[in-house]
């Protein structure tokens, strides 16, 4: 049967978005989406509505009533809060009528009834939404003559954040952030009523890893951050937008300085990455750049101490050493702390010199072949049907990625299946969380895949595996084999690698990945055997970061000549024959690549300390001395060369491309190898399997040289199940002896019922006894005995 469609015209019209809504704001037609609030539609249309409590990344609560606007209704215009009123087809909104103006002025007047006249001494003055909007939307004077509320001026609610309750306008942004975004509701409105105030529980500080964000989003000067208090006025600050490279999430920031000193980082909203949030470590470690202890000039070892030397003398010595070294005896470790340009130029130099021993990781990540699996972005993970976590505790290692995944799970956009030896920050947001003792993740994956409910879930949508090194006392091959097992069992699954060091993906992609299996461990082994004549540490500190302490010591001691290029005299640099001062974050321009392969820019804001320079300059200059002139004099030259030589990087050479959200670059990767979980030897009398991982605050150089963060490390301890503790027979907090065939250490014991029986959790790189003494590379897993003393 044939029917003739007479209405051909309408069928040719483009299909109308069923969610599109058209409204009128101040006489202009504005397209909006169903469910959107008026204030968001107005923002897009550049019609500014004043507000205090509304924040586009948090739920609307309508606390401050400042966003009142007029909406045409059946009974004439009515006043509504635009941050809580959704748009509707044909809605007529007016934001500037005399009535609206009166209402908004009234709200400002009420908010100021209790607000002190602190502006001249308030950190927020000059960038304060209350100040600004009192000026733009206030009446200019107040009818209130009553005494204002009085509270003790700022009280510390954590080591980092101060609260001045007199200034608080009770907008619920900080408390909402703590609850909704950070998941640490450690501040709450208390004494509700006339004396409502934001407060912590007595003696339980607002010790959230994300506490700095509340300072940034507080619309008044009620919350201030210890590292910035009274340091500058906003109008004295200069700023440039950049990317945080403390970890590999790559949050967007602005770097602010005054008089050539870094004073503050603020989060910038990058939609695919950080949504405006930063973690406290990334936010406050600008202090490290300003540290007194920074290296300023090249140093040469003279006996037990160092003597300052010139760059030309230092580089001359290094080039002579390299020239006279036996071919194949030069090694480069590191590169993950620098920019893409730094890594690229060092890789170029390594290529020219035929250096095969190179590794940007320190045996604390995963093999670079993790990039050969189908790759996922953060957004892809946060909108996948299922996310499988074979990863460290994201809250400790990649904090803002934790925020993103937590948000996606809370909003039911994803279901998380976690395979982990112990509880992590995401466990309570996981759909399923299985405890798999270290060394058993492959078996755990296979069991999960055999479960019909899980199989149905996996088949219901895209699957992303978040893969990283969960346990430094476990061979990385276990994780790789588990990833292989997932990919073998789940069609079209992709991988989001979560290697944590700032630019580790960039460095590995740009040529600092190990060649023919000569990774950091192999390099240090070779060095210990005396086969490394020149070891170049490119911002790497193996003495601190290699999980096998003994190997690190032997490797560094065995190298004939050590060059350290660093910002501080780290533990490893202290063994170097020559130390070159490197320009730090904020002191050099360039680009960086985050864990998903996104390339964004990092910027220079202040003059490099002393005579320090960017790593790429050092590589270029050494190349010149060694007869391998790369012909680069400026960063633009390097970027041009990089764009030409590294497929995928061509697109990053324009400054526009790497702004804000940047671009995701795919670099051809090593061929995929498959992994088999290494066998595990029986435990015998070593009844505890050790789980070693990092916490956000440890002895990382950027942390200990930032006074605000230096004391936040928890210190080392061993945590076991309470019943295990009973068996060990030690009191909580007492010292116990932890030993295995390699060594023995003494450290305090803690108990936690969330640690599975037979597992012992020890944080890495904390002040106190060094767990690395118990770890030897190549050990499949690490088992220990715990004895009370």
């Amino acid at each position: 049967m044939t029917t003739i469609d007479t209405n051909t015209e309408s069928s040719e019209m483009p299909e109308k978005d069923p969610n599109a809504v058209s409204i009128t704001i101040n006489g202009r037609t504005v397209e909006a989406q169903k469910g959107e609030f008026i204030i968001a539609a107005a923002d897009r249309a550049d019609e500014f509505i004043p507000r205090f409590c509304y924040h586009p990344r948090m739920s609307s609560v309508g606390m401050c009533r400042q966003c009142l606007v007029e909406v045409e209704g059946p009974r004439g215009p009515m006043m509504v809060v635009s941050c809580m009123t959704p748009v509707a087809e044909g809605q007529v909104v007016r934001t500037e009528t005399p009535q609206v103006k009166r209402a908004q002025e009234g709200m400002i007047e009420l908010l100021l009834a209790n607000h002190p006249l602190d502006c001249p001494v308030c950190d927020k003055g000059g960038e304060c939404p209350l100040q600004d909007q009192a000026f733009s939307h206030g009446a200019g004077e107040s009818r209130f003559v009553e005494e204002k509320r009085h509270y003790e001026k700022p009280i510390a609610i954590s080591e980092l954040v101060f609260l001045d309750r007199e200034r608080c306008i009770l907008c619920d942004r900080c408390t909402r952030f703590a609850d909704e975004v950070a998941g640490d509701p450690l501040i709450s409105f208390t004494q509700r009523g006339n004396n409502t105030q934001v407060m912590t529980f007595p003696d339980e500080p607002f010790a959230s890893y994300f506490s700095g964000n509340v300072v940034q989003i507080c619309p008044v000067g009620a919350l201030t951050a210890e590292p910035y208090r009274f340091k500058a006025r906003p109008w004295d600050l200069e700023q440039r937008e950049s990317t945080c490279t403390t970890c590999s999430v790559g949050c967007r920031t602005v770097v602010q300085s005054s008089r050539d000193e870094l004073l503050r980082y603020q989060g910038v909203d990058s939609d695919p990455v950080n949504w405006g949030w930063l973690c406290d470590r990334g936010r406050f470690n600008f202090q490290s750049v300003n540290s007194e202890d920074r290296l300023e000039n090249p140093q040469t070892k003279a006996g037990d101490s160092y003597a300052t030397t010139t760059w030309s003398a230092a580089l001359d010595t290094i080039s002579r050493t390299i020239r006279h070294a036996t071919p194949g005896s030069v090694a480069i470790l590191g590169g993950a702390r620098g920019t893409n340009e730094d890594a690229f130029m060092w890789a170029q130099l390594a290529d020219a010199l035929g250096v095969t021993m190179r590794d940007a990781q320190l045996d604390d990540g995963l093999p670079a072949s993790i990039f050969s699996y189908p790759q996922a972005t953060i957004d892809a993970a946060c909108s996948a049907g299922t996310v499988i976590l074979l990863a460290p505790d994201m809250k400790e290692e990649l904090p803002v990625l934790h925020i993103r995944l937590r948000d996606a799970a809370e909003k039911k956009k994803i279901r998380i299946i976690e395979i982990s030896a112990r509880e992590t920050g995401l466990t309570k947001h996981a759909w399923r969380s299985v405890r798999a003792e270290s060394g058993t993740s492959v078996t755990a994956v296979q069991q999960l895949l055999a479960d019909s409910a899980i199989a149905a879930q996996l088949a219901s949508g895209p699957v992303v595996v978040v893969a990283g090194r969960a346990n430094l006392a476990e061979d990385a091959a276990h994780t790789m084999a588990a990833v292989d097992a997932v990919l073998a069992g789940v069609q079209n699954a992709s991988v989001l690698p979560v290697l944590r060091r700032g630019n580790v993906r960039g460095a590995l992609s740009l040529g600092l990945a190990p060649q023919s299996g000569k990774d950091a461990v192999a390099i240090l082994e070779a060095s210990a055997r005396g086969q490394v004549e020149c070891l170049i540490l490119l911002g790497a500190d193996p003495m601190n970061d290699i999980a096998d302490a003994d190997l690190a010591r032997r490797g560094i001691a065995g190298a004939k000549f050590v060059v350290a290029i660093d910002t501080f005299l780290t533990q490893s640099a202290a063994h170097a024959d020559i130390v070159l001062p490197a320009a730090a974050y904020g002191e050099k321009d360039g680009t960086t690549m985050n864990l998903e392969g996104r390339v964004t820019n990092v910027v220079q804001k202040i003059t490099p300390r002393g005579t320090s320079r960017a790593d790429w300059m050092i590589a270029a200059e050494l190349g010149l001395l060694l007869g391998h002139d790369a012909n680069v004099t400026t960063l633009a030259d390097v970027q041009k060369l990089m764009g030409k030589k590294v497929p995928g990087f061509g697109a990053t050479t324009t400054s526009v491309a790497v702004k804000r959200d940047g671009i995701v670059v795919t670099v051809p990767t090593p061929t995929r190898t498959s992994f088999v979980a290494p066998t595990i030897t029986p435990r015998n009398s070593y009844e505890f399997r050790v789980d070693v991982s990092r916490k956000l605050y440890d002895r990382a150089v950027g942390t200990i040289t930032s006074p605000a963060l230096a004391n936040l490390a928890t210190g080392v301890s061993i945590t076991i199940h309470p019943l295990d503790l009973e068996r060990v027979g030690a009191a909580i907090g007492a010292n116990v002896r932890v030993s295995n065939a390699h060594s023995s250490i003494v450290l305090p014991v803690q108990s936690n019922e969330k640690v599975p029986r037979g597992t012992a959790v020890i944080p890495f790189n904390q002040p106190g006894a060094d767990v690395r003494e118990l770890i030897r590379h190549g050990d499949s897993v690490v088992d220990v005995r715990i004895e009370s003393m």
Binding site: L186, S188, T190, Q191, R192, M199, T200, F201, P202, E204
Partner: protein, 204 residues
């Protein structure tokens, strides 16, 4: 400072079981804590947080909204004298003065023996019986100086123990709902249809 006793933890779990969401039990558990110690201790708030899955700060935020939860020790008998309109007209002022001199403390204070705390209260909804007061939220009507003294004598002698339990006890008899008698917890988001009697009329 005390966490909930074992017996009270058992009760707490019973109470939590009555609600679709554990957090909804916060207020009843605060009462339980106050009944146990006479006031709500920090340890108890932290314990309640653990039981209902909230942080201590959230429990404190909720608890501190309510006048009737005390965060400092109060006397065994908390005497609230109403000072609002009707009672004021009928001599509340004088009654308060008398109470202060009889007990030797100011309004808001606690006697050194820990027996009595005096507080001024707002209208207790017994205006027809003004002036009135409450001892641990048990009423006394048309209180004169004389029968205030009698009340204090009786309380001191323990004669009213059966009628007026120590501060914190809300109900003289605790209600127990056996689990099998409960209708079962229904989460609000699981309710998708109107009640049966509405019979489809809700479609309007």
């Amino acid at each position: 400072m005390a966490r909930l006793t074992e017996e009270n933890v058992r009760l707490a779990r019973e109470i939590i079981g009555r609600y679709p969401k554990a957090r909804s039990a916060t207020i009843p558990l605060l009462h339980l804590a106050q009944e146990q110690d006479g006031y709500v201790t920090n340890d108890a708030m932290a314990h309640i947080g653990e039981l209902v899955g909230a942080t201590s700060a959230e429990v404190y935020g909720t608890a501190s909204f309510y006048e009737m939860f005390k965060f400092e020790p109060v006397g065994k008998y908390l005497i609230n004298i109403c000072g609002t309109m009707s009672c004021a007209l009928m001599g509340a002022e004088e009654l308060m003065h008398h109470a202060e001199s009889r007990l030797g403390i100011h309004m808001g204070g606690t006697t050194p023996d820990g027996l009595f705390t005096l507080e001024k209260a707002e209208c207790q909804a017994a205006c027809t019986e003004a002036p009135c007061l409450q001892v641990n939220y048990r009423y006394r009507f048309r209180v004169t100086s004389e029968n205030f003294d009698t009340l204090i004598d009786q309380l001191q002698a323990g004669e009213l123990n059966s009628e007026i339990p120590a501060h914190g006890t809300v109900a003289a008899v605790r209600q127990h709902i056996p689990a099998d008698r409960g209708v079962g917890a229904v989460a609000p988001e699981d309710v998708t249809e109107g009640p049966a009697w509405l019979d489809g009329k809700a479609a309007l």
